[in-house]
Symmetry: C2
Subunit: 150 residues, 2 copies
DNA sequence: GTACGTGCAAATGGTTTGCAATCGT
DNA sequence: ACGATTGCAAACCATTTGCACGTAC
């Protein structure tokens, strides 16, 4: 479990600061049920509800920062906005099968894919942050009903 | 090679039409050097240069349509805009290793990943369109110089 | 002839940014 | 005290959409 102190240390290492906002956002993601992910907008709403409102700008700045630090995963389906979730250590990374018509998403795991990702990054001297397989497909329900300009 | 006639047939199958614009856009993608991909904006410029201008709206509508038909692959790196390329038959699909700092991209292939993608889609009854492994990482050059709000 | 498709210009909507005030160190 | 960070509102920019005209069939 990634603690506030770890976050603080990592921020300091780079000359940055630990703020209540950053701490709160980290907590929200940690308490999120496994497999869940939030968009910036959803995180904003959730923080309202929790009684610790944080401005949208700060949310965008923070999730971007944490994604770059490798603390969050940035997920990009075909919906036009990004989702974020805690970046589990590699063995827990999961992948997505999504329907390009209705956006239905199915999560799955694959050790082989993770292994390939790790190996590829290593070979090129890159520091691995995240590794996601995105399968775009058409789900059974949508296979009979393609609409032109939806 | 996917011909104009094949496109025409597939469009008609769904009650749509083959227009000069759709035909031209297909040709441009087919003549694109292997591994290249274009954003909507880039395609727009290229069509200007070729002397067959097509409006941006039509371009957006067309690439979206073709991506849904499985003719184009929609690539989404972390740059904020999508890129498109011809959707090769499965064995030629490739994947991307990108640096989240400088956006440098490295392409690679992996039959195992494609196999896993195909199997997963099949198991769920989905009709596979595309399968991309996205590895987000930090390249050697950027590993020493992380900037906060770039 | 009848939808469908195109081009234009305007709207949309997620995300970013400038700036003054505030806060962490 | 200094520079990083926040919040607000305005700006951005890729993409979408309404509508009138044109065109594939």
């Amino acid at each position: 479990m990634y603690t506030s102190n770890a976050l603080k240390a990592e921020l300091h290492e780079r000359g940055w600061r630990l703020t209540p906002q950053r701490e709160t956002i980290l907590q929200v993601f940690q308490q999120l049920p496994k497999g869940n992910h939030l968009s910036a907008e959803e995180l904003h709403d959730k923080l309202q509800d929790l009684g610790t409102p944080i401005s949208l700008s700060t949310i965008y700045r923070t999730v971007k920062l944490m994604a770059r630090m490798g603390i969050l995963r940035e997920l990009e389906f075909a919906e036009g906005h990004k989702h974020y979730e805690i970046n589990q250590p590699a063995p827990h990374h999961h992948h997505h099968l999504i329907c390009v018509q209705c956006n239905k998403a199915i999560e799955f795991r694959s050790d082989s894919v993770l292994k390939i990702g790790a190996k590829t990054a290593e070979k090129e001297g890159f520091h691995l942050l995240d590794c996601q397989l995105l399968i775009q497909a058409i789900c059974p329900q949508c296979q009979r009903s393609i609409v032109p300009n939806a």
